[in-house]
Amino acid sequence: MLEVNNVTKKFKSSFFNKKMFTAVDNVSFHINEGESFGIIGESGSGKSTIGKMIINLYTPNEGEIKINGKNIIKNKFTKTLEFKKQVQMIFQEPDGVFDPKWKIKKSMLEPYNIHTKLSHDEKMKKIIHWLEIVGLSKEHLDRYPFELSGGQLQRLSFARVLMLEPKLIIADEPTSSLDVSVQAQVLTLMREIQQRLNLTILYVTHDLYLARQMCDRIAVMQKGKFVEQGRSDEVFDNPKEDYTKRLINAQLPPDMSSKEKTAV
């Protein structure tokens, strides 16, 4: 379904400074249809940048990205609505997704206005259906983003992506603002939908417990490179690289032993 081959992305360090900074360095991986692939690793190592290249928000400096065999770089196809509907990203920070001046209703209607020809009533019916699936209700539609909690916004941005029934989802920290019970509900839901629609999902997460639950295979990223890649259980039970071992050791267990671990 998705093939990423030797992709590199550089950014200018600053407006005045011509020096280039390599955010993603020669990364390759693939994801099969219906599979869940996870990227874990260092903050600032280029995980979100990879996601943004796949949805064609950034263009790689080198390498190719193929979706269903089609190279998407500098391809007119990626400008089409069809592509945008099939490949969707759940962004890391939900407060960037919703226009602060719009009521939630307007932001939720927008994707349907762009991608479908449904009547207004049909759109509203579907939106409310998705809201209920993520544990929210009609009453939240009349609010502005600042009138909602972090986790409520995150679930709205989740619903806003799922309601288009895409084929490939980049889920960048999709549950970082949810309590563990609602997180488990949302992830269970994600699994059901994945099976029903044969969805392909790329998870980016810092939660190693979550990565292990949700991903068939994972890659560990550090400083723009993949340092290790493999089946999730193998990587977690038998980490090969030092960095992976360090990550696993730094996890805080959900009990009193994390107090000792962080003693200063």
């Binding site: 407060d95 009453e139 972090g150 995150q154 920290e173 019970s181 509900q185 730094a250 959900p254």
Partner: protein
């Protein structure tokens, strides 16, 4: 000494759908040298409670009850009095980085402004100190002049932490401070916060969804659900002998134990059920639970719970 104390605190919002009961009849306190950690349901009023201490809520809010900072009732404080406290004595690490940071200002400039305003530093020393704090929270030196959109999510989060720490205030409210950080950086941040809390004059009000972070940072924990504190106790009491069915369900839902959510979703804060707010999802609910809301029962001197199972 008692630094913060809420008594029968209620925070409501007006909305088109009706009155939103975001915080309802909450009692809590934080003493000098103490970290109180809030965990619980998303949308249960944790951020609203933190923002009430800062008095930074939008204008559709109204309050009942009392909220003391030392001997000042913050609910009654004027905007001018609050301005004097914010930054100096009360500081916050906000939950939403994109909302909290000005997109047209570099990360360092944010800190320089705070230091000049609240610490009375001149430009040069504020700039030096800002760089120092940013590097201390783990932002690479060549990125401290970046704007928010150029930073990765985790680096933006660290910028927010730096901003909260800059003022060196007596009370630090930290709203999901470790969200979006990789576990090695998370460990550093938790250690940094523990170092600050070793200072016996200060206190922290921490909100987190990460049970590991809660266990590491808390002296005491409060569990929030639908605007109420359903259970509170020492960190040991909560993790080793949780009492409330919601607390037990929450701890059991941690992803290290598989995906085991509590069934159903919480009630709307506009239309709360009669009786206990958790009873529609509770396996132990009886007729009594559906009729009236339980008061707080004391299990120990520190361990309190709002559940009829404790009364019987």
């Amino acid at each position: 000494m008692r630094l913060i104390e809420g008594r029968n605190l209620k925070v409501y919002f007006d909305s088109d759908a009706g009155k939103v009961h975001a915080v309802d009849n909450v009692n809590f306190h934080i003493d000098e040298g103490e970290n109180l950690v809030f965990i619980g349901e998303t949308g249960s009023g944790k951020t609203v409670l933190g923002m009430t201490i800062m008095r930074l809520l939008p204008t559709n809010v109204y309050y009942e009850g009392e909220l003391y900072f030392k001997d000042k009732n913050l609910i009654k404080a004027t905007e001018k009095e609050m301005e004097g406290l914010r930054g100096r004595e009360l500081a916050i690490i906000m939950q939403n980085p994109l909302t909290a940071l000005n997109p047209c200002m570099s990360i360092k400039k944010h800190l320089v402004q705070v230091l000049q305003k609240h610490k009375g530093m001149d430009k040069k020393s504020a700039s030096d100190r800002a760089a120092e704090i940013l590097v201390e929270t783990g932002i690479p030196e060549d990125q401290i002049d970046y704007y928010a959109h150029q930073l990765s999510g985790g680096l933006r989060q660290r910028a927010l932490i730096a901003l909260g720490l800059a003022c060196d205030s007596e009370i630090l409210i930290a709203d999901e401070p470790t969200k979006g950080l990789d576990v090695t950086v998370q460990l550093q941040v938790v250690k940094l916060l523990r170092k600050i809390s070793d200072n016996k004059k200060k206190a922290m009000f921490i909100i987190t969804h990460d049970l590991g972070v809660a266990a590491a940072l808390a002296d005491r924990i409060a569990i929030m659900y639908c605007g109420r504190i359903l259970e509170s106790g020492t960190v040991k009491e909560i993790f080793e002998s949780p009492f409330h069915p919601y607390t037990k369900g929450l701890i059991a839902a941690h992803p290290s134990r598989g995906l085991n959510p509590i069934q159903g979703y919480s009630a709307s804060l506009v239309n709360l059920p009669e009786g206990c707010v958790f009873c529609p999802r509770c396996d132990h609910a009886t007729a009594k639970c559906r009729e009236s809301e339980p008061e707080e029962f004391d299990l120990t001197e520190t361990h309190k719970v709002r559940c009829y199972l404790a009364g019987s």
